[in-house]
């Protein structure tokens, strides 16, 4: 369990985050959503023991992070934005360094290499790997010591589709294993990846937590939003959807479908397309800017 109480922190010239309070329990995914510069990374730095808070407390599994950092930190795994691996060291040594720092036996590295499909890259320098592989290595490093709390700062940024899917699967696996997972993003459509998980969303704005909502409630706000479908045959998909009286059009290589209830209609559309032999590569809501969501939310509050 992770408890954040009245947390304020900054970089010496005033606080970047102010009075953040939230709790995440075992097996729960806590999504921190906010625009660039809202304070997501600063929050995670204060939660992982990198940045000392000016006020407040972080309690990890009952241990005060800033009172007993060594004990608390072994319970946290951190994947920072970007990969932050040692480019001149091999994959194995990148893991060995942290295995030794966390007091993990060396045999665990072999397990992690297998688990993350990194075995064949064991002796390759981390700097020579693709971005997706480096991210995989960084996630392997974060999970090496089997932490109770996993903190992921914008993990999907700059990843290709297959890396996103494999990372998402790892996150679901972590949740099943009872971990608390904290995840930050500024891309609204990424939330959709976690439908079905025990998930709460905290919206951060100017360093303050302005709203906390269950994911399913937030997703209902997305109703009335167009769906974007990435398919293998856009012409066929368009024809099928038109036959079923959907308001669909082609934009670039994507199909845009106007729908009134995203959560209800998307499964039906994907079923129809699949039955007609259209391969679906991705489905996501047409991006609405976070600012619009904030406006929507504030209207709802009134």
């Amino acid at each position: 369990m992770l408890e954040v109480e009245n947390l304020s922190a900054g970089y010496g010239k005033g606080d970047v985050i102010r009075d953040l309070t939230f709790t995440a329990t075992k097996g729960e995914l806590y999504l921190l959503l906010g625009t660039n510069g809202a304070g997501k990374t600063t929050t995670f730095r204060a939660i992982t023991g990198i940045l000392p808070p000016s006020r407040g407390r972080v309690i990890v599994e009952g241990i005060d992070l800033w009172r007993d950092p060594e004990k608390a930190k072994v319970k946290i795994g951190y994947l920072p934005e970007g990969e932050r691996v040692y480019p001149n060291l091999s994959v194995y040594r990148n893991l060995l360094l942290f295995a030794r720092l966390y007091g993990v036996p060396e045999e665990r590295i072999g397990e992690v290499l297998r688990e993350f499909n990194l075995k064949e890259y064991r002796d390759r320098k981390a700097g020579e790997l693709s971005r997706g592989l480096r991210k995989r290595l960084a996630l392997a490093r974060a999970l090496l010591h089997e932490p109770e709390v996993l903190v992921l700062d914008e993990p999907f940024a700059n990843l290709d589709v297959s890396s996103v899917i494999s990372l998402r699967d790892k996150i679901f696996e972590s949740l099943k294993e009872g971990r608390v997972v904290l995840f930050s993003t500024h891309i609204l459509s990424e939330l959709q990846q976690f439908e079905g998980a025990k998930c709460r969303v905290g919206i951060i704005r100017d360093g303050k937590l302005v709203l906390e909502e269950r994911l399913e409630n937030l997703m209902s706000l997305l109703s009335g939003v167009d769906a974007v479908l990435v398919v293998n045959n856009p012409q066929l998909a368009l024809q099928v959807l038109k036959e079923k009286n959907y308001d669909a059009r082609i934009e670039g290589r994507n199909i845009i479908v106007s729908i009134s209830n995203y959560t209800l209609e998307v499964p039906e559309i994907t079923r129809i397309l699949a039955e007609n032999g259209v391969g679906i590569l991705q489905v996501r809501p047409k991006e609405i800017p976070l600012e619009k969501l904030f406006m929507k939310l504030s209207k709802q509050d009134r």
Partner: protein, 262 residues
């Protein structure tokens, strides 16, 4: 040594092994300087000045008239190995160590790996200590290598000309055993301050010591040989004192924010 520091030192040594250019450059330069000063005759002006210095007080070089006669043309090269190389080595060891430690901090800043380290059960003191210890290992290794190479070169020339073994003088031992470590001590706090700030201008400014031998060579032609040895000795003392002062200043400057903010 604290377990986490030991692990971090090991990591520094891996990095040094993966990217040995700085160490090899320092090592190569030491051997090059030793070979050049042993084999290449100095310029007529340099030769005249050095011969004048040696003849004014041969005892400081462990020589007398008979040995100078036996050394003949090698006298000047012998004098350079005894009096000038310790100074050059001090500067080379300083530059290699300074550049290694600074680069180590700067590359962690560039790759932003310091952030991941601080998320692990590691303190900023552990990180700083590990880099300093690795720098010290490198510096001490180069120091012993230079001591060995230079003394062997001196013995080789002396034995070749006189068929005797040279007994190192107090001045040589003081110069060789004190000047390079004294300069080395200055490299650590300067590299720490500059590495934390990470600016290229500051990095370059730390190499100001390159001017020390030039200034000393100019001064050496103006002062007696006793004065020259004394001058180098006082420069070494000043380096140690400066190192202590900079260390005290650096201790106040070391904080987590300096490592993770750009």
């Amino acid at each position: 040594m604290k377990a986490s520091v030991k692990v971090l030192v090991e990591k520094e040594l891996w990095t040094l092994r993966e990217n040995p250019s700085q160490m090899l450059l320092g090592l190569g330069l030491i051997l090059f300087v030793t070979l050049m000063s042993s084999l290449v005759p100095p310029t007529p002006q340099g030769s005249y000045a050095a011969r004048h210095q040696i003849l004014s007080n041969p005892a400081l070089f462990g020589l007398n008239d008979r040995l100078i006669h036996l050394l003949g043309d090698w006298t000047v090269r012998f004098g350079l190995l005894v009096a000038q190389n310790p100074l050059t080595f001090g500067i080379l060891i300083y530059l290699t160590t300074y550049s290694y430690v600074t680069n180590s901090f700067v590359s962690e800043r560039i790759n932003k790996t310091m952030e991941v380290l601080f998320a692990a059960p590691v303190s900023e003191t552990d990180v700083v200590a590990s880099k300093m210890i690795t720098g010290a290992i490198l510096g001490v290794f180069l120091f012993f290598l230079s001591f060995l190479a230079n003394t062997l070169a001196i013995e080789f020339i002396f034995h070749h000309c006189t068929e005797l073994w040279w007994t190192p003088t107090r001045e040589y031992l003081l110069l060789m055993a004190f000047f390079p470590p004294a300069f080395l001590s200055l490299a650590f706090p300067l590299a720490l301050i500059i590495g934390m700030r990470g600016s290229k201008f500051l990095m370059a400014s730390g190499t100001f010591v390159i001017f020390v031998p030039i200034v000393l060579l100019i001064m050496a032609s103006q002062v007696s040989v006793e004065g020259y040895f004394r001058l180098i000795f006082w420069i070494a003392i000043a380096s140690v004192l400066l190192a202590v002062l900079v260390t005290l200043a650096a201790r106040k400057m070391v904080n987590r924010l300096a490592f993770i903010t750009n």
